[in-house]
């Protein structure tokens, strides 16, 4: 003890003993130490008489030891919590030790089972896999913290490969017991190991999620690039289940032109078996973007003479989605004042199939004035 004996008088020593008894109830402490000052003083006087004036500390030893002796002689359980100030490291260490003890208990009970030993030796053989995995987790956490890159399964670029390589080197060397033997570094490595265990699943999940996003963006790009000249914007679907597909892309609307190239309206389309050909199946609830328009459109059906809603009458009419409201029954309907119109045509007039009107071959061709 570096404390000089002069500093300690009987009262201070007794107070230190009481402090060291923390964990007992106040009544128990009082019970154990109510005569302490008197006993200490008398003992000290006695010993001074005999032994040339020893100090309190020299006579009785550290107050913590004195308190522990008092406590165990009185048949009270030794304290579990150290009364002295715990350092920050101990605050971290205590739960980790508790977890470690629990793990050891579990391991011990597992080792009683006959099936466990082969399993354990298999897992031990897999240890290097974990060394690589934790290095990878560390690399992912580091790069995303630094904002270096979006998360991918493997690094892109030399620098990132070097970073991952360094992480693997450190992890494997530590795993083999080659590096990190000193206590502070060992501590750091242990904390890192626990963090890697905790972070493994979140990291894998977010890398998986990002990879998925990248794939869908790529798919969208691939199909979007092909749609450069399409009449209408399309919804990207991997496999159109139904509808009209042009060049692998689902079509939202059809525009018909007569032989002279004039646009037609209210064209009914059926397939070879008499089934209506529909381009959209959202019954007006979907949003469709056209080239050069900023606002999405939604389509409406056309009622026929029998009152049936027909979706195979082209061009489908519609209006900007903002003019639609959801009715009480959940259907998507135009607001009262708005009227549906034909979306912008890809071109006002298509090339004529035949020679200009008036030529001799135009016998069966309808005249432009025949179209409404």
């Amino acid at each position: 003890m570096s404390v000089t004996t002069d500093v300690w008088d009987v009262a201070e020593y007794a107070a230190a003993v009481r402090r060291a008894l923390v964990g007992l109830g106040p009544e128990q402490i009082e019970d154990l130490t109510d005569d302490l000052e008197a006993d200490l003083a008398e003992a000290l006087a006695d010993e001074r008489h005999n032994a040339h004036g020893l100090g309190v500390l020299e006579q009785f030893g550290p107050p913590q030891d004195y308190a522990a002796e008092l406590r165990s002689a009185a048949g009270l359980a030794p304290e579990l919590v150290e009364p002295v100030h715990r350092t920050a490291r101990e605050w971290v260490a205590e739960p980790m030790r508790a977890v470690g003890r629990g793990a050891h208990d579990v391991l011990d009970s597992l080792r009683q089972q006959s099936f466990w030993m082969p399993v354990e030796s298999f897992l031990v053989a897999l240890r290097p896999v974990w060394w690589i995995a934790r290095a990878w987790v560390g690399y992912q956490v580091l790069t995303s913290l630094a904002g270096v890159s979006t998360m991918r399964w493997l690094p892109q670029g030399l620098m990132l490969w070097l970073l991952l390589g360094t992480a693997v080197l450190l992890s494997v060397q530590w795993g083999r017991g080659a590096w990190f033997r000193s206590m502070p570094l060992l501590w750091l490595a242990h904390v890192g190991n626990v963090l890697a265990v905790v972070m493994l699943l979140p990291v894998v999940a977010s890398v998986q999620g990002q990879a998925h996003t990248w794939e869908s963006i790529y798919d969208g790009y691939a199909s979007g690039a092909l749609a450069g000249n399409a009449d209408t914007e399309v919804v990207y679907k991997d496999k159109p289940v139904d509808g009209v597909v042009v060049d692998g892309i689902q079509v939202s609307n059809l525009f018909a032109y007569d032989a002279a190239g004039n646009p037609l309206t209210d064209i009914q389309i059926f397939d070879d078996r008499g089934r209506p050909v529909r381009t959209t199946f959202d019954n007006g609830s979907g949003q469709w973007f056209f080239p050069e328009t900023k606002e999405p459109w939604s389509f409406v059906s056309r009622a026929d003479a029998d009152g049936r809603q027909r979706w195979n009458v082209y061009p489908l009419k519609g209006a900007p989605t903002s003019e639609f409201t959801f009715a009480d029954d959940g259907t998507h309907a135009l607001t009262g004042t708005a009227t549906p119109s034909i979306p912008p045509r890809p071109f006002a007039k298509a090339p004529a199939l035949d020679a200009p009107a008036g030529s001799s071959v135009a016998a069966e061709a309808p005249t432009p004035s025949a179209t409404p």
């Binding site: 019970d31 154990l32 109510d34 005569d35 302490l36 000052e37 008197a38 006993d39 008398e42 003992a43 006695d46 009785f60 004195y66 308190a67 002796e69 008092l70 406590r71 165990s72 002689a73 009185a74 048949g75």
Partner: protein
């Protein structure tokens, strides 16, 4: 041999024996034990033992006011303590006799 280890097992008996002679307070009991030759006993061990024997009902306790110094808590033996002392004294004497005979023969051989 470390006599403090030996003493741990028989400190109750020693304290009971001292208090049965005459009532005493904490340090007084320590002093009388030392005077009897049990030098290595720790003060705190004796105080704790007194407290424990009192809690278990083997000792009585009373406070004696003092004019010159602080009030002292005295311990005295009661019937239960006396019975305990007798039983332990018998056990100890048998044990000590056995050990004595064992060590005797060891020496002779």
């Amino acid at each position: 041999m470390d006599t403090t280890q030996l003493l741990k097992g028989v400190l109750d008996l020693a304290v009971l024996a001292v208090v049965s002679d005459e009532d005493g307070y904490g340090y007084d009991v320590v002093r009388r034990l030392r005077a009897a030759g049990i030098e290595e006993v720790g003060d705190a061990s004796v105080y704790g033992t007194l407290r424990r024997l009192y809690s278990s009902g083997a000792l009585t306790s009373y406070v004696v006011p003092s004019d010159e110094g602080p009030h002292r808590k005295y311990y005295g033996i009661n019937a239960q303590g006396r019975a305990m002392l007798e039983a332990q004294r018998k056990d100890w004497q048998e044990f000590a006799g056995t050990m004595g005979r064992l060590l005797e023969t060891e020496v002779v051989r």
